[in-house]
């Protein structure tokens, strides 16, 4: 290399070539993939503004005509709670929504509200349902557990712990879970003859067709509700028996909501 430097002293043209090589190498460095950048299939770079996709090859065919929406049936009259709304969707997706209303927090947080959205894809191929729980006007900065339950109100019956919602300082919060929802059931496999009715007819186990939210800690409940006499409940996992607080929100329905 240093022999080349001496050579440059004799040949100015060669120096220009070296300068060009240096500039080209800098350009190549600048164009090299940077940490954090993702390259999609076919060299397509993804990311950027608003999650847009920059195409480096021919543009894909994008549908210009919206697919037809329909509102599928869900259960039958008298089988599903009147608070359940079935949203319009593209076949075969099913989307339902139902509200939550305050139970133990009603006195201090009468405007607390929740909206549960449950989506099911093609029942033949989808591997779980998606539940989104949105809440407003709730006690701020508190963690609530979410359970699928047999009965909307006390004594609640069989229960399945599915996730948590943590409220922000303004009392809002949301969580999304992916799990079996529309055909959720509780069972003890030693008693295989126990059956119950769901929207499709008789099914194994005890159907869990309601949803509720609980204070994940009884201390939080006592503080938020200003009541030191509140007793613990089993509606949280781990961390000592009966350490959870009372039910905060409920679908409040006698008929199933899911």
């Amino acid at each position: 290399m240093f022999h080349s430097i001496e050579h440059v002293q004799r040949h100015r043209g060669f120096g220009i070539v070296v300068v060009c090589i240096a500039l080209l190498s800098l350009l190549a460095s600048a164009c090299a993939p940077q940490p954090g950048a993702q390259t999609g299939p076919g060299g397509t770079k993804t990311g950027g503004v608003a999650g847009g996709t920059a195409q480096t090859s021919s543009a894909p065919t994008f549908p210009t005509t919206p697919p037809a929406l329909r509102t599928p049936s869900f259960g039958s009259a008298g089988q599903i709670a009147p608070t359940v709304k079935v949203l319009a969707s593209v076949d075969p997706t099913l989307i339902i929504q139902f509200p939550l209303s305050p139970s133990s927090i009603k006195t201090l947080f009468p405007k607390a509200s929740g909206l549960v959205t449950v989506m099911q894809g093609n029942p033949a191929i989808s591997v779980f349902d998606t539940i989104t729980v949105d809440v407003q006007n709730m006690p701020p900065n508190v963690k609530f557990t979410v359970f699928l339950i047999e009965i909307a109100t006390k004594p609640f019956g069989h229960a399945e712990y599915v996730g948590d919602v943590i409220t922000r300082g303004d009392g809002t919060g949301e969580s999304t879970f992916h799990l079996i929802t529309f055909v959720a059931f509780a069972a003890d496999a030693r008693q295989a003859n126990v059956t119950s009715a769901d929207q499709s007819g008789d099914a194994s186990g005890i159907q869990l067709e309601h949803l509720g939210m609980w204070f994940d800690g009884v201390d939080n409940a006592r503080k938020a509700l200003n009541d030191p006499t509140i007793a613990g409940t089993p509606f949280d996992g781990g961390g000592g028996a009966l350490h959870a607080g009372p039910q905060a929100m409920t679908d409040g329905q006698t008929l199933p909501v899911i």
Partner: protein, 252 residues
């Protein structure tokens, strides 16, 4: 190295146009930057492998606690606690064929459970990867009280449909490490990794044929009986257990 330096010094002193060395230096710097980037990328990709090999283990008290539980037999010996940065916890354990064993002895599965911060995360993430399973079959996935018959209390969490080559995977988000079953009218208590807890702990995982007919066909056995291990109508339309963690001690 000394030879290179002396050569460089001689070249600098002898040069009538030292500015010509600038592009050379720039070239060397840019090459060095490129090399550093490559090394950094390679390190990032291999850090887990290196960590597993006992190099540069991150300090995670929960990982140490869970590994101690494996050593003490409080978690099954098949449980592998992966290195992770706090507060994340990652567990892995295999599944082995149960009902499938005679026809698909090489069937394998790996379950990975990821939990974030105990206080701030709202659910766990479970990934199940399978290989050499019956092709194009839907299996149901349950958290269960006991790994083998009679299974006890159960919770239906998701499905997994295999591809034509017998592979498959599913990812779902649900409370896992503190999953439990209960009837709130009489919840009872039981022990989990954190001590006494409400309800009956569900600390095992199994996979079942979603349809009895699939099981009868795949296993070439018309005498198989229906089980409860799928939701919806009619009762007992599911098939036998296909895969199990097979452990007496908890796997999560």
């Amino acid at each position: 190295m000394r030879t290179v330096q002396s050569t460089f010094s001689r070249a600098l002193r002898g040069s009538r146009r030292p500015w010509l060395l600038l592009p050379i230096v720039l070239l060397l710097i840019s090459l060095q930057v490129g090399t550093d980037y490559g090394v950094a990328t390679a390190f990032a990709a291999s850090s887990q492998r290196g960590a597993q090999a006992g190099q540069a283990r991150p300090d995670n008290a929960n990982v140490a606690r869970l590994r101690q539980m494996v050593r003490e037999g409080k978690l099954a010996p098949t449980v592998h606690v992966l290195d992770s940065l706090p507060p994340t916890t990652i567990l892995q354990f295999p599944l082995v064929p149960s009902g499938l064993k005679s026809k698909f002895p090489d069937a394998t599965a790996l379950v990975t459970v990821v939990r974030g911060d105990r206080n701030d995360s709202t659910s766990d993430t479970v990934t199940i990867d399978v290989q050499k399973m019956p092709p194009n079959i839907t299996f149901t996935i349950f958290f269960i009280e006991i790994a083998n018959k009679p299974f006890g209390n159960v919770e239906y969490v998701a499905d997994l449909t295999t591809r034509g080559d017998g592979t498959g995977e599913t990812i779902f988000h649900i409370i896992t490490l503190v999953a439990f079953a209960m009837d709130a009218r009489n919840p009872g208590t039981s022990h989990d990794q954190e001590g006494q807890a409400s309800g009956i702990q569900l600390e095992h995982l199994g996979m079942w044929f979603a349809q009895l007919q699939d099981a009868q066909k795949v296993l070439n056995d018309d005498t198989l009986l229906g089980t409860i291990f799928d939701g919806g109508n009619p009762p007992l339309h599911a098939g036998p257990q296909a895969m199990t963690d097979g452990q007496s001690s908890p796997v999560f």
